[in-house]
Symmetry: C2
Subunit: 105 residues, 2 copies
DNA sequence: CCAACTACTTTGCTATGCATGGTAGTATTT
DNA sequence: AAATACTACCATGCATAGCAAAGTAGTTGG
C-alpha cells in the first residue's frame, strides 16, 4: 500500500545493513522484511545497481546450510554514499513531518 | 536529488494543507516549496488525480491580484484518505529510522 | 525421492515526480 | 503604451524504482 513511500529508501537501508559486516542477498531481504514489506524482486536488482555504481563489492562463500552465498561489502565510495543518503533522509523526513503537522492540530 | 524520497508523500502533504482551509493550486505549490523542492508540473497533475478520485472538490474565485483561482477543498473521503496516509507515513518513517539506526552506531 | 527451504536472477508492468513548454490575466516599470 | 515580471493554470513525454511473477538450482529432512 505504501509502495510509493519506499521509493529511494531501500538504497540507504541496504547500505546501512552492510556497514557493520558483509551480508548476502537473501539475508538482506529477510532482515529488511522485519521492518518493511519488500520482495526479492526489488532487492536483487538494487544490489546489481549498487555494484555497477561501485558502492558495493561481492565475494562468494559456500554455506553449510544451502547454496553458495554471494556476500556484499561496502566500498569507500559506498560509505560516502551511505553518509550522504542518511543526511538526505533526515532532512527530508523532518520536512515532511513539519508539513504534516499542519493537519494534526 | 531525493526525487525518489518524494514519491507518495506529496499526496498527504497536499491533503494536510487543505485540512484547515481551501487553497488554490499555485498557493499549494508555494507553501510546499518552503519545505520540499517540488515544481508545478508535479502538483497540478496530482490535484487532478485527487479530484478524479473524489478526495477533493474545486470552486473558482476571482482574485483582486491576478487571474481567477481554482480553490481545492477536502471531501469527507479526502479526510479519511488523509488520516490513513498520516498513519501510514508514521509507521513507515519510524521503520526506516529504526533500520537506519543500525548504521549510525 | 519428494517436499520445503535457501539463494539468486530475469522480465515486463506501473506509479509518481519532473522537465519542458504552453496559455493568459494582472501589475509594475519605463 | 510597451515591455517585463509575476500570478495562475494546464498538458506531454520521460526516467526511475519497486513489484509481481516466474524460473533455476542446491540442500536438508522425512
Amino acid at each position: 500500500m505504501d509502495t510509493q513511500f519506499r521509493k529511494g529508501v531501500l538504497e540507504p537501508c541496504v547500505l546501512a545493513l552492510l556497514r557493520r559486516r558483509p551480508r548476502y542477498g537473501y539475508e538482506l531481504v529477510q532482515e529488511i522484511r522485519k521492518s518493511l514489506d519488500i520482495t526479492e524482486g526489488t532487492v536483487y536488482p538494487l544490489l546489481r545497481r549498487l555494484k555497477d555504481e561501485g558502492y558495493v563489492e561481492t565475494f562468494l562463500k559456500e554455506s553449510s546450510e544451502g547454496p553458495t552465498r554471494k556476500y556484499y561489502t561496502l566500498t569507500p565510495r559506498g560509505k560516502e554514499r551511505l553518509a550522504s543518503l542518511l543526511g538526505a533522509w533526515d532532512v527530508f523526513s523532518r520536512s515532511v513531518d513539519a508539513l504534516l503537522k499542519e493537519a494534526r492540530r
